[in-house]
């Protein structure tokens, strides 16, 4: 085996440029023109409230069933290809939906749409996280970039709602299904152009059975991961509840029909606004995070107290907005605690958990709201929001030292994990003096870390020895890396 390894193409890449095709693809996937007129179309082809229920149930069964397997597949195979498959499912679903003239075919289309959602779930955020890690060496900018992706997505939702409605008005609801097809096809092309991160494939390959076991063990046995998963799943549950049941408050207060459109637009736009705010706020500041933790239960509490229409809408928007921000935060915490090769699987696990919680929640909520009024059912939202706030605060408290190699806490409060992160700064001589002292003190008292630093030294030596055999970086006339797709 030759030790000559070609360095890759000579173009310096930036994170921003690399993420462009992904953002284009996500935007086009979100631009589904038939969404705003779906219910209208369904009525036209013969749906009744009962068959709508059957369709929702069929759809709801597909998503949680496929989420974890597709996440694990994304980790083992290719996340990009999974996104291509998800676009193809969206394409097939739109086509079959548009061709439908009866209830059963449309239900089949809805189930294919479920496949699209299952494939999508947990994949995009895993891709963004690993690209940020690959291009900057840390996850610090993850929230900024996933925030931008969410903005693009939400902008596409809003635009497609407006355009789709207008298009259906001019032509027919059926045409919106066919008009969506070329856009999704372009999304496929954009995903194919995207230079996928490869971190999840860098580890030594493991057998499928072991990979599945590892994914479940990470979710169930790691206390830190378990707690963050619960946080993320509860945030998913509560946002779904706000979108699903929020309009009931307006119905109970006899809001005029014209108000529902702007109300819905405000609610949907919180997804993008949350992304924007996340990229502006520094959520590492405890004050910002505490405010966020307070805002959600306070807004939910307001829903149980007020009967003023404006206050109800404002409370729901604040609740949805804070949940959008917390969800990005929870995603970062989750990804920080999970290795790349398990990332999409664990992230999809959150989606599944959220679905599993939502089913009983919605049944109880629905029953209680019918019996005691929706305002009092708001206490369920408040309780969930409180739980979210507690988990969010707990995540800040347990953020820091978590030893990796040694299990006992070091006397100098310097965790092994932190040492691992600082080794290169130490060797480059750029550690501030006080940190350097702590580093050395820790090193002297921790055998595991001393061995680690010794092995890093040997690794560097091995690289130097191999230096002559490692291909120099090609200058201006770039040779292409055979492992990397064309961009």
């Amino acid at each position: 085996m030759s030790t000559a390894v070609a360095a890759s193409a000579a173009v310096p890449r930036t994170l921003a440029r690399r993420l462009v095709p992904l953002q284009v693809a996500v935007g086009l996937q979100g631009f589904i023109l038939w969404v705003p007129v779906e219910k209208l179309f369904m009525t036209q082809i013969g749906f009744t409230p009962r068959s709508v229920g059957i369709m929702a149930a069929a759809y709801a069964a597909v998503v949680p069933l496929l989420e974890m397997p597709s996440g694990i597949l994304a980790d083992r195979w290719s996340r990009n290809q999974i996104m291509v498959c998800s676009s193809v499912a969206l394409l097939a679903s739109s086509l079959l939906g548009g061709l439908s003239t009866n209830v059963p075919t449309y239900i089949a289309a809805a189930m294919i749409l479920g496949v699209y959602f299952a494939l999508n779930s947990g994949t995009i955020d895993s891709i963004v996280y690993d690209v940020v890690l690959e291009e900057t060496g840390s996850s610090d900018q993850y929230e900024v970039w996933i925030g931008r992706v969410r903005m693009v997505e939400s902008g596409a939702f809003v635009a497609s709602a407006l355009v789709g409605g207008a298009l259906a008005g001019w032509t027919s609801a059926r045409l919106t299904y066919f008009a969506s097809l070329p856009l999704v096809a372009i999304a496929v092309a954009a995903f194919l152009r995207f230079d996928e991160p490869r971190l999840h494939r860098a580890a030594e390959p493991v057998a499928l059975r072991r990979h599945v076991a590892l994914t479940y063990r990470t979710m169930i046995r790691e206390p830190g991961v378990r707690q963050v998963m619960l946080l993320a799943a509860l945030v998913g549950l509560l946002s779904q509840a706000v979108f699903e049941f929020g309009p009931l408050w307006l119905v109970a207060l006899a809001a005029p029909a014209a108000l529902f459109g702007p109300y819905w637009a405000a609610l949907v736009s919180t997804l993008g606004a949350g992304g924007y705010l996340t990229s502006k706020l520094n959520l590492d500041r405890r004050a910002a995070l505490s405010l966020l933790a307070l805002a959600a239960p306070a807004a939910a509490l307001a829903l149980t107290q007020t009967r003023a229409l404006a206050a109800v809408i404002a409370a729901q928007v604040v609740l949805a907005l804070s949940l959008a921000i917390i969800s990005i935060r929870a995603g970062k915490l989750l990804h920080d605690g999970v290795p790349s090769n398990l990332r999409a699987g664990v992230s999809s696990g959150v989606g599944t958990l959220s679905w599993m919680l939502f089913l009983p929640f919605s049944l109880v909520f629905g029953w209680f709201a019918r019996a005691h009024g929706v305002q009092r059912a708001g206490w369920f939202l408040t309780a969930t929001a409180l739980l979210i706030a507690l988990l969010l605060i707990a995540s800040v408290l347990r953020r820091h030292p978590r030893p990796v190699a040694a299990s006992a806490a070091q006397p100098d409060e310097f965790a092994c994990k932190e040492l691992v992160e600082l080794v290169t700064d130490y060797l480059d001589g750029v550690l501030p003096p006080e940190l350097k002292d702590t580093f050395q003190t820790h090193l002297a008292s921790c055998d595991g870390c001393a061995e680690y630093v010794r092995q890093i030294g040997l690794t560097i030596r091995a690289l130097k020895e191999a230096g002559l055999h490692l291909a120099p970086r090609p200058q201006a006339s770039a040779s292409r890396d055979p492992d990397r797709p064309d961009r």
Binding site: R13, Q455, T459
Partner: protein, 77 residues
């Protein structure tokens, strides 16, 4: 423990380097194999110094992980 310059280590190292993300590979080859200057490498790859060091740190850790069985005295790590 194997010799860091021995053929076993070299082969594992080459395989591990090939699996690194492109930017990580460029950084670690330039910095550790070819002893290039930190500032020069950062500028050429369009990275900040901090990013460059963070990438180098992760790349070294990844390679150490793959080489561990050759570098650890006695048993597998």
């Amino acid at each position: 423990m194997a010799d860091p310059a021995g053929p076993d280590v070299r082969d594992t190292l080459a395989a591990a380097i090939a699996e690194l993300p492109a930017t990580w590979r460029e950084v670690i080859i330039a910095r550790d194999a070819h002893d290039r200057d930190t500032v020069e490498v950062s500028e050429r790859l369009g990275l900040t110094l901090r990013e460059q060091r963070a990438i180098l740190n992760r790349a070294r850790a990844r390679l150490q992980e793959r080489l561990a069985r050759h570098l650890t005295p006695g048993a597998d790590r």
